[in-house]
């Protein structure tokens, strides 16, 4: 359940942004957590529901999680392919030297704030 730790870090970041912006409250938070991020979105949502009240700015906030599909780029044939998180070899030429282009993100994407 490291989603609790991740959620605490998220709330700290969002709170800082709200303070810097002079906002009274956070309305909505959007994050990206790809299948290779190591974070389970459902667990993160549950952690968020418990922890959001720990800070006044986020007490009424909602959270949505975007999960970009895993897309790899083969360094041999240079083609991009969608694939499963545990099948990261190139499905076209079979080369294992691939780069994950999307699918391992774990980042804060967007915050909607209410200005007092």
């Amino acid at each position: 359940m490291h989603e609790l730790s991740v959620c605490q870090a998220l709330l700290r970041q969002v709170n800082d942004i709200a303070m810097d912006s002079g906002a009274g409250a956070v309305e909505h938070i959007t994050i990206e957590a790809g299948p290779l991020s190591g974070v389970e979105p459902d667990l993160l949502v549950r952690a968020f529901e418990v922890l959001r009240a720990s800070r006044r700015a986020t007490a009424q906030a909602s959270l949505s999680i975007e999960s970009p599909a895993v897309i790899i780029r083969c360094t041999h044939c240079r083609k991009e392919s969608p694939t499963a998180p545990n099948r990261l070899v190139c499905p076209l030429c079979g080369d294992f030297r691939t780069r994950v282009m999307t699918g391992d993100e774990l980042r804060l994407r967007r915050v909607a704030l209410r200005i007092p």
């Binding site: 359940m1 490291h2 730790s5 991740v6 870090a9 998220l10 700290r12 970041q13 800082d16 942004i17 810097d20 912006s21 906002a23 309305e27 994050i31 290779l36 991020s37 190591g38 974070v39 790899i72 360094t75 998180p85 545990n86 099948r87 990261l88 070899v89 294992f96 030297r97 691939t98 780069r99 994950v100 282009m101 391992d104 993100e105 774990l106 980042r107 804060l108 994407r109 967007r110 915050v111 909607a112 704030l113 209410r114 200005i115």
Partner: protein, 296 residues
């Protein structure tokens, strides 16, 4: 610090644009890694290690795979050649630290309570009680868990993941985040292979390779002395620890590899297959959200 997630666009938060909406609402586009705070502390830890010339290795596995036994065997084999210390992470008890101390090696126990992983801050606090001067090798034995530890950079130079043969050879397929993060896989308890008909090291290697990795895999049985040779090779990296610390062999896919397995002792002068020079900045990899995200 990070070239991929966008946090380097601005020292704090990269705000692409502030858009007034619905009169009194404001939407801010942010591109910031959720674990940026952890990564900053991890970077700080790494600077401590580098400053003292210490090679830091993060040891991860499921509970009971044999991390402490591997450390005991490593200390027995190499404790006279290298000055070793261990940070132990467990939810409760200092049993593992006591096992290490019994071998005359300093060990510091972190009890995490309910936390299922070590993070950079926990390790940083431990470093205040563990003098790094005079050390060659620091092993950080993470909490036994194949999921959570993979997401937290501790400041280590290398990740080693143990996979015991009693766990099943499909573990790399089941836990891709963990096995993508490691620099070396150690198959442990291989002396049991003779009585297990459902673990095939070749299948484990294939599952590992399916993750787009050429991560080396070595086989050990820590309780058998003859099986210690690969461990000697592992810790032999300390001979070349300065090079290893910076040793990122920038392969064609940008993946770094253990110098010790491919070209032992020559990591500092080695050039990778793609003809690119060693990346001396390996320690400051773009750990966008955890460990070893060098594949972009």
């Amino acid at each position: 610090m990070c070239q991929t997630c966008g946090c380097s666009l601005n020292a704090d938060v990269a705000r692409e644009g502030v858009e007034e909406q619905r009169g009194r609402s404001m939407v801010i586009d942010v591109l910031q890694d959720l674990l940026a705070a952890n990564d900053r502390v991890a970077l700080h830890n790494r600077e401590h290690f580098d400053e003292h010339g210490v090679l830091a290795i993060n040891l991860m596995s499921s509970p009971g795979a044999g991390k402490t036994a591997l450390l005991e065997a490593t200390i027995a084999a190499l404790g006279e050649r290298y000055r070793i210390a261990v940070i132990e992470g467990d939810l409760e008890t200092d049993n593992d630290a006591r096992r290490i101390r019994a071998l005359g090696v300093p060990a510091l126990q972190i009890t995490t309570g309910t936390a299922c992983h070590l993070d950079a801050q926990l390790v940083h606090r431990a470093l205040h009680d563990l003098p790094l001067s005079g050390l060659d090798l620091l092993f950080i034995e993470n909490v036994g868990n194949l999921v959570c530890p993979a997401s937290f950079d501790l400041g280590q130079h290398r990740n080693v993941t143990l996979l015991s043969v009693t766990e099943g050879d499909d573990k790399p397929a089941k836990y891709p985040v963990m096995f993508r993060a490691c620099d070396l896989v150690v198959l442990s308890k291989t002396d049991l292979l003779g009585v297990l008909d459902d673990f095939d090291p070749e299948r484990a290697a294939a599952a590992l390779r399916a993750l787009g990795r050429d991560t080396p895999m070595i086989q050990t049985a820590a309780r058998r002395v003859p099986a210690l040779a690969p461990l000697a090779e592992l810790a032999g990296a300390a001979d070349d620890r300065t090079a290893i610390r910076g040793a990122c062999c920038a392969n064609a896919d940008g993946r770094d590899s253990w110098g010790l397995t491919h070209v032992p002792g020559r990591a500092g002068t080695r050039r990778c297959s793609a003809g690119q020079p060693m990346d001396r900045d390996r320690g400051r990899r773009d750990s966008h959200s955890g460990i070893n995200r060098t594949d972009r």
